[in-house]
């Protein structure tokens, strides 16, 4: 019975999500808003991938922008410099990111706590410096220009409505995929790592392989996000994949609320919208952004989804007490 109810709930959630996306796509006319919604979609993909690693498996990565960048630069180089079809480039980008994640994850994921954070940070910095310094291939710090638009048959994905639907379609597929993984045997094993790695090893979970697999999965999602980003803005530079971007990704996951798929969407939306809103404050933008980050983390360390639910429950309880 519980399983049936759970499936029903998930079905309703998915239907609501699809309706919301279609309504947004049809009703929003303003191209600026559509563009921001598309960016939210790309960031949601990043947050979903990192959330699997951080929220469920409990492994912190401070260098995840590297995979985002690998996805973007692979497709940029293959489709622009070598003139390949972007779809072939997508396969290469995802394959490349998974391969790099395997090579890097093998030794790195043996570390834990701050050491894992520092290891992934170092990896992210090295990848970013490679983008910056290998200028004959990547265009160096001035960036890579002239990335072609995506085409599928007769549909040309321009920056606008069609791209919005493309990105959110991918987000939906990724969401369903994450759900499937989490409700499987693998998902339960993942949560056991989060609660206690030694305990889950004791009951026979091969934690190292599992962590590596989930690292590779989140790298793949990151590189798909990078692919979508590159063909959307058609210009990429190393700054879009630096240390601060990795930190921003971690912040999306934590602010939205770890181990929650809706939390990832909320976190991605907030961190995409916030700089847009703060633009009007001009030079005070950084101060306000930093303050919000600190205040949320000090008062709602469980993230906004959890924090808001707590406040709601608290406010419902307190009137009862007075009665």
């Amino acid at each position: 019975m519980i399983i049936v109810a759970e499936q029903k709930r998930i079905f309703i959630e998915h239907t609501l999500f699809i309706i919301a996306v279609i309504l947004c796509g049809i009703l929003i006319e303003n191209t600026y808003y559509l563009q921001i919604m598309t960016f939210i979609g790309i960031n949601t993909l990043l947050a979903l991938g990192l959330n699997m690693l951080m929220g469920y498996a409990g492994q912190v990565s401070l260098g995840h922008a590297a995979f985002y960048g690998i996805g973007a630069y692979t497709t940029a180089i293959l489709s622009t410099t070598f003139g390949l079809s972007p779809w072939i480039a997508l396969v290469c980008a995802v394959g490349g990111a998974i391969f790099v994640a395997f090579i890097v994850g093998l030794p790195t994921l043996k570390l834990s706590g701050y050491y894992l954070g520092m290891g992934t940070l170092g990896f992210g910095m090295i990848v970013n410096i490679t983008f910056r310094e290998w200028s004959s291939v990547t265009g160096g710090s001035s960036g890579f220009v002239g990335i072609p638009m995506l085409e599928l048959g007769s549909i040309l994905f321009e920056a606008g409505r069609s791209y919005f639907f493309l990105v959110w379609g991918v987000v939906f597929v990724a969401m369903v995929l994450c759900r499937r993984i989490l409700n499987s045997r693998m998902g339960r094993a993942l949560r056991s790592i989060h609660d206690g790695e030694n305990a889950s090893m004791a009951v026979g979970v091969n934690t190292h392989i599992l962590k590596l697999q989930i690292f590779m999965f989140s790298a793949a999602l990151g590189s798909i996000a990078g692919f979508l980003y590159a063909h959307f803005v058609m210009f990429i530079s190393p700054d879009s994949f630096g240390f601060m971007v990795s930190v921003k990704m971690v912040t999306m996951v934590v602010i939205g609320g770890m181990a929650s798929i809706w939390g990832a969407i909320l976190g991605a939306s907030l961190l995409t919208l916030l700089p847009e809103v703060l633009h009007s404050f001009q030079e005070y933008e950084m101060i306000i952004f930093g303050l919000i980050l600190m205040v949320v983390m000090i008062f709602m360390p469980q993230g906004l989804t959890r924090g808001l639910i707590d406040i709601y429950e608290h406010s419902r309880k307190s009137p009862k007490k007075s009665v």
């Binding site: 043996k110 170092g122 090295i126 310094e133 983390m297």
Partner: protein, 291 residues
């Protein structure tokens, strides 16, 4: 040969600055188990502080030095009191994001106070450079290296000789046991922040005449400080110091002999190598737990 000596000189100079940054980070980590991602910003505040007090207000150098260090240490205390203390019981990742938020905040404040343009600071001493084996040694470098050693030595003596220092070490070893024997561990935490940000400010003052100082110089310096602290072994004072010098020398040699584009990558390549081969660091006596 002459070139290599020249690279060594500049490597040791920047290395001793990394060393001071690493010592501050490492010390804070061993007494509070916190990695402060805004440490680089306190270094930047030190450099900007000397720009204001010494270059703009034309105060005498020692006074400017003391004023800057005191002001930055005071900000470090405020940071601990307002942000870290209020959120102390939470997971490391929340604390990391709080310090990242603080670093963005401090960078924003510095951008408004000092603007976006970089400043240059004249050298501390106007003596001519000395020539050793064909390589020029600037007196400024000697001054910085000696000052770094004095600073690290002072921290060492503080921990080994004074009661407060010993109490801090006790807190770092076992907080609960220290608390039971009557050491106010909260006060020790604040003190650790004050000393850590104060040494960060000193590092910023040393680096000001070597490079241009601007509001965004902190992040990279902070990250390299981590690398140095990890290379030497997180939590060990002289280990972090040696890690800093080693990092500076290798960076300077790598940039000079191989490629200048490699300069920033060296620190992180070293970091990964250390983490894979001996995560406890090169100079750490005890085998570190990978917790």
């Amino acid at each position: 040969m002459q070139e290599i000596i020249q690279y060594l000189f500049s490597g040791i100079t920047t290395g001793s600055i990394y060393a001071v940054i690493a010592v501050g980070l490492s010390m804070l980590y061993s007494s509070t188990e916190l990695i402060n991602f805004s440490h680089g910003e306190f270094v930047m505040l030190g450099a900007m502080g000397i720009v204001t007090t010494w270059v703009h207000l034309a105060l005498p150098l020692p006074l400017a030095f003391v004023l800057t260090v005191a002001a930055v240490a005071f900000m470090g205390m405020l940071f601990e009191r307002l942000a870290i203390r209020t959120a102390k019981k939470h997971q490391p990742i929340t604390l990391v994001i709080i310090t990242v938020g603080a670093s963005i905040l401090l960078r924003g404040v510095a951008m408004i106070i000092w603007g976006k343009d970089p400043f240059s600071v004249p050298p501390f001493s106007s003596h001519d450079s000395i020539e050793i084996a064909g390589a020029a040694l600037v007196p400024q470098s000697v001054f910085i290296v000696i000052a770094a050693f004095i600073l690290a030595g002072a921290i060492h003596l503080f921990f080994k000789q004074t009661l407060t220092g010993k109490a801090m070490v006790a807190c770092a070893v076992n907080k609960k046991a220290a608390w039971l024997s009557g050491i106010p561990s909260e006060t020790m935490g604040v003190l650790a922040f004050i000393i850590s940000t104060g040494t960060g400010a000193a590092a910023g003052i040393f680096i000001a005449p070597i490079t241009m100082s601007s509001y965004d110089m902190g992040t990279m310096l902070g990250l390299k400080g981590f690398c140095a602290a990890m290379i030497g072994g997180l939590g060990s004072l002289w280990g972090a110091f040696a890690g800093g010098i080693l990092l500076g020398v290798l960076e300077s040699l790598g940039a000079g002999l191989i490629s200048s584009g490699l300069k920033d990558a060296i620190a992180f390549i070293l970091l990964l190598l250390i983490l894979y081969i001996c995560p406890g660091g090169l100079f750490s006596a005890k085998i570190s737990k990978r917790f």
